[in-house]
């Protein structure tokens, strides 16, 4: 190394830099990216195509393989893989505060109208709570971006149809229980489910006796953030 370069390196150690300030910008929840809008439209178009395909029995095995919505991957298979039949309450995870939930979701957890603040639970980065309407309903929220986090495996006896949750696309899965592969716990059989994505968070409502109408009504409450 030339002398001058060596001297410059030596100079670097002697520079009297101003003290580095703490630099803690206020990190607001990330806004939904503008380019996601075309992606959302594409997802809607795909889901509509899937819904149409589902209505044609001969096309089921030929067309419907895999599709995604938010953090959820849905697979259509001929034979369901083995899965335990256990109540959703068994997989709730560890209790967390609303503040922890907010940190993980990047925004306060959205809830329907409830008589009292529910206990929140964490499994991985997913926040869940269980409430009665009047039968048990499991609500799970997870900041998902584009990454696939949950997997749902459906046989031909489970219907999957596109729905609209307010202004965002959703997926209503009903009929024969399907296999749900959640975060960090073994697969289990799941009942009727509504999935939708809003502001980078994937929402999932599950209830064995949940009807499509009740699920959409609950989802609208949750979207309003009451």
């Amino acid at each position: 190394m030339a002398d001058l370069e060596r001297d410059l390196h030596a100079l670097a150690a002697a520079i009297d830099w101003p003290a580095t300030p703490p630099l803690h910008p206020r990190l607001e929840p990330r806004a939904r990216r503008a380019w996601l809008r075309p992606a959302a439209i594409a997802v809607v178009a795909l889901l509509v195509a899937v819904a149409v395909a589902l209505s044609v029995p001969a096309a089921r095995s030929a067309i419907l393989r895999v599709f995604h919505l938010g953090g959820v991957t849905v697979e259509r298979v001929k034979v369901l893989p083995p899965a335990q039949q256990r109540p959703p309450a068994r997989d709730l995870g560890v209790p967390v505060t609303a503040r922890t939930a907010q940190e993980l979701l990047g925004m306060p957890m959205r809830l329907p109208r409830l008589d009292m603040p529910p206990q929140l639970y964490r499994t991985g980065d997913a926040i869940s709570t269980l409430f009665a309407r009047p039968r048990p309903v499991l609500l799970t929220e997870i900041r998902s971006g584009d990454a696939a986090i949950f997997k749902k495996i459906l046989s031909a006896r489970t219907a999957a149809v596109y729905v609209q949750v307010g202004t965002v696309p959703g997926l209503w899965i009903s009929g024969q229980p399907h296999v749900f592969e959640p975060v960090a716990v073994p697969p289990r059989l799941a009942g009727n489910v509504l999935i939708w994505v809003s502001n980078g968070v994937t929402f999932r409502l599950e209830g064995r006796h949940l009807t499509k109408q009740d699920a959409l009504s609950l989802a609208r409450e949750i979207q309003r953030g009451t």
């Binding site: 370069e5 101003p18 630099l23 990190l27 990330r30 990047g106």
Partner: protein, 170 residues
């Protein structure tokens, strides 16, 4: 990275923590004002957070971060209109009671001060590329990202700036 890209603010803080100092110093090299440098670095971190979803996680984070910091610092410098610009200063005594390095022994405080003054006297383009490469110890790729030029341009600018400094330094 995946957690931060999913919107986990704490994961993002952890991710950028090792780069805060270099981010601030790079901003200072460009703005020459500690308050502007702090604002630029702060704003740059916020922009990184907002655009992290588009960052390819297979790429190194630091050049990407430094590019955003440098852009923000240049914008800040242009818009702030501050008249006062601080020159870099060299300490007369190196910090701590640690044994002096070979460089400390071979380069006296006076020589350091003279070299720094000469560096400061260079045109901005030459001064900035040398500050990035030698004072901040950025790699050629990081310098290229910070200056928004190709690596080849960094090499040629560095060579020309060194030549010019050598002429002055004697």
């Amino acid at each position: 990275m995946l957690q931060a890209q999913r919107g986990n603010a704490r994961a993002f803080e952890t991710l950028v923590q090792p780069h805060r100092e270099i981010a601030f110093r790079l901003a200072f090299v460009i703005t020459r004002n500690a308050a502007d440098a702090e604002d630029a670095a702060q704003e740059a971190l916020l922009k990184c957070w907002r655009s992290l979803g588009r960052f390819r996680s297979t790429e190194p984070l630091r050049p990407w971060l430094l590019r955003i910091v440098a852009n923000e610092a240049r914008n800040r410098r242009r818009s702030s209109g501050r008249a006062e610009r601080l020159a870099l200063r060299a300490r007369t005594h190196l910090s701590g009671g640690a044994a002096p390095s070979p460089e400390d022994i071979t380069v006296s405080a006076d020589e350091r001060a003279r070299l720094l003054a000469e560096l400061e006297g260079l045109p901005e383009q030459a001064r900035t590329v040398l500050a990035c490469r030698y004072l901040l110890d950025l790699s050629e790729a990081e310098t290229a990202a910070a200056l928004d030029v190709r690596v080849g341009t960094v090499k040629s600018r560095t060579a020309r700036a060194l030549e010019r400094l050598r002429e002055i330094h004697g």
